[in-house]
Assembly symmetry: C2
Homo-oligomer: 212 residues x 2
Amino acid sequence: MRIPRVPNVVIRRLVLYLRTLVDMDIRSDENLFISSQELGERAGVTAAQVRKDLALFGEFGKQGVGYHALSLMRELQAILKVDRDIAVGLVGAGELGMAMTRYNIRRYNQNPDYLFRMAALFDIDPEKIGKDVEGVPIFPVQEMEERVRELNIQIMTIAVPAAVAQEITDMVVRSGVKAILNFAPIKLTVPSDVHLYSADVSLDLQQLAYYL
Amino acid sequence: MRIPRVPNVVIRRLVLYLRTLVDMDIRSDENLFISSQELGERAGVTAAQVRKDLALFGEFGKQGVGYHALSLMRELQAILKVDRDIAVGLVGAGELGMAMTRYNIRRYNQNPDYLFRMAALFDIDPEKIGKDVEGVPIFPVQEMEERVRELNIQIMTIAVPAAVAQEITDMVVRSGVKAILNFAPIKLTVPSDVHLYSADVSLDLQQLAYYL
């Protein structure tokens, strides 16, 4: 049922649909159905868009009843490949890095549908190396390649100062990681087979500013 | 030229176009034109989508030449209402809140097109109240309503633990702020005239997981 090349914007909406379902705590009701209208309203898109997006993957809601919520959630998790644990690493155990790590650990421990497991932190500060954050060890950046292989790290989060972010990114690429989440406020360059996503709080603020 | 109700998804794309232009550092070339093709590629959408979105606001690129980059940036800033300073507050001067604050201050000081100015922090910890973060004062949450008025705070960022996030949100709403950026990992309820946007790093991670 997988369509080979799904546009990024569709993936982004599927992620929103999935989050909406996870937030609705639908596990408690095995017989819950949700209409494209309701799902769209909660996710902030039109009902027609919901139907169009889900039809891409062969998901057709029943006329007048909608989608079986739990099945749809499982299906979206499979499409988005978040139906298994994914080991996440983070470079830069500074203020932002530590906050992100604690947030992720808490989320992972509390929600069985949150599958991003913090596996390792990397830093250059000898004061930090060898310590741990709620059980997640801090390694020297020099050990990145080795630890990525050993721990099967699939996504690396970058939370280092902008000035060294490209250098660190090159190191992450050399370690074999194919997905990078960047928090440094700078445009990074990666090879075409590496997927880079830059989180940017200014995007969230700009989005809000429109509604002032 | 403003269309009264622009769908959220269009606004989100306009924000991406604007960020793309800001990242391209187009100020250095007053005569730069950018095609819908190039803008789309950099922003991750199709050229047709770019043309359709911008046509909504009466922006028509010249055939074979594209859009005048600097004018388009100014136009997008005006549409998105980020052509003036916007005072931002933050509740919860913990690890995440401090990291966010420092990031915003640095961004604001370094980029003349970044217009979100940190105006105040709020916390309940007597150890923190009265101190400041790079010149931004930390006030007791009890003073929120007064400080919002005094400093004309238009966006409030929430970086408090999930357990108290709704209570704090109610307080923010009472203070008269109409736009809230939430970092607490919990679904919040606000009146219909308040715009809430929940940042969620798990969305970024899920987006990336698809490409593994």
